[in-house]
């Protein structure tokens, strides 16, 4: 496998972006600018469309109209973004470290070896446990480790702190701060308070 070059300094710009499910428009006319090194927090009540917007930015849903541009991204150099949804992609019967190695394989490995990443998120001791036995919060920590093993400049995180304890929330904030300091970009949907430097906030409409 040719070790691909890590891409740097990507800016996100959207122009008149509308996203939604099927024909239902959930957010219209969004013109966002998120520069490398800064973050955008998505807030809003349940059902506002935060997850939908993240999926659209990740390219997993088609925008209903408008455009999304990642400036500075080199499409030749492979994918440049991580998306973490509500589901953890953790399969029982594979051990924690096997799971992480597999993710590194398919996403292209980076400089951080899996065991180091596990230590960083506080799962060092569970490395050889069946990943299906992890508690809700431990699985979420494993997902965070995925962000570390394959470095990518854009992180799209959907409620990264759900099911995490206080230490876990601090961990999320620390990881994000590191990422931003290294010139990364992050869009984070959350209901919790995550202390972030240089973070703008976008609140999506209220409609339960």
């Amino acid at each position: 496998m040719t070790q691909r070059q890590v891409q740097h300094r990507i800016n996100l710009k959207t122009q008149g972006l509308a996203c939604g499910r099927g024909d239902t428009v959930l957010a219209a006319d969004l013109s966002l600018e998120v520069a490398a090194g800064s973050a955008l927090l998505l807030r809003g009540p349940n059902g506002a469309g935060k997850s939908t917007l993240l999926l659209t930015l990740a390219g997993l849903l088609h925008p209903l109209s408008g455009s999304i541009a990642f400036e500075g991204a080199d499409p030749e150099a492979g994918p440049f973004l991580h998306h973490c949804g509500h589901r953890n992609a953790v399969r029982p019967r594979l051990s924690v470290v096997e799971t992480l190695k597999f993710w590194a394989d398919i996403n292209g490995p980076g400089d951080v070896p899996p065991t180091t990443a596990l230590d960083r998120v506080g799962l060092g001791r569970t490395a050889h446990l069946d990943a299906g036995y992890l508690s809700a919060g431990q699985q979420r920590r494993l997902v965070l480790a995925r962000l570390l093993v394959s470095p990518r400049p854009v992180w799209l995180l959907d409620e990264p702190s759900a099911a995490l304890d206080a230490a876990g929330r601090d961990l999320v904030a620390a990881l994000l701060a590191d990422h931003l300091r290294n010139g990364g970009l992050a869009v984070v949907a959350t209901h919790d308070d995550i202390a972030l430097p240089r973070a703008a906030t976008l609140t999506l409409g209220a409609r339960v």
């Binding site: 496998m1 691909r4 990740a58 390219g59 997993l60 849903l61 088609h62 492979g78 994918p79 973004l81 991580h82 998306h83 949804g85 509500h86 589901r87 953890n88 992609a89 953790v90 399969r91 019967r93 594979l94 096997e98 190695k101 597999f102 993710w103 394989d105 398919i106 996403n107 292209g108 490995p109 394959s150």
Partner: protein
């Protein structure tokens, strides 16, 4: 390439570890073959005459019914979404999965077929032809099957839908597979059936990863 091998390794690990899915599939194959005598009576001549057909049908059903585990668990737990953002194309993910499916769902059946041949009173030469035709034909089933599984993966519960979508498309495989064993038209017919079978397998294996990748990408968004 490390991605391709990673997927392959993971699939094999999952199939052979604790769950014993491979064992389940082999047992299913054997049971389907073994209940036939209960249903149609123990007449040895009759059994021997239809034995190749039964083995093929049992293999056909076992392979189609093993399809559900190909993409669905990955979709349910979110791994499929990861694949879509991985540093490898969806088609190569599918190709790795087809190979893994053949290794874990077809090869074990072929290894278990002597047992079925025995209880169905099959004779030696016929048995060897059966093994050969299974070896040539099952890759086509795996490839078609992956396509069917990809079509139904976006559904909340696919269940039996993939088998019924794919079974009609697989009829040629069955026809040539059995035709290659028990040729009414003589050895000429048999060898042309073998050729058709091999051609089907090659074609299906070459095309299905792309068709399946299309279906997954479009179905998921």
């Amino acid at each position: 390439m490390s991605g391709f091998l990673g997927v392959l390794r993971r699939e094999l690990r999952l199939s052979f570890s604790g769950g014993g899915e491979v064992l389940t599939l082999v047992l299913f194959f054997v049971i389907v073959g073994a209940i036939v005598p209960f249903a149609i009576g123990p007449d040895r001549a009759l059994l021997a005459s239809i034995a190749p057909g039964i083995i093929w049908i049992a293999a056909f059903l076992a392979m189609l019914l093993g399809l559900d585990r190909l993409f669905r668990p990955d979709r349910d737990d979110g791994t499929l979404a990861l694949y879509r953002m991985a540093d490898m194309s969806m088609a190569s993910v599918v190709a790795a999965k087809v190979i893994a499916h053949w290794l874990t769902a077809a090869l074990p059946l072929i290894l278990a077929s002597p047992f079925l041949a025995m209880i169905l009173a099959m004779d030696g030469p016929t048995f060897w032809r059966t093994v050969l035709s299974l070896l040539l034909g099952t890759p086509a089933l795996a490839a078609f099957g992956a396509f069917g599984a990809a079509i139904t993966v976006a559904l909340r519960r696919g269940g039996l839908l993939a088998p019924i979508l794919i079974a009609p498309l697989c009829v040629p495989v069955l026809i040539f597979g059995v035709g290659a064993i028990a040729p009414l038209g003589g050895p000429d017919q048999a060898s042309s059936a073998m050729l058709f079978l091999a051609a089907l397998s090659l074609m299906a294996f070459a095309l299905s990863p792309f068709a399946a990748a299309l279906a997954i990408d479009w179905g998921e968004e």
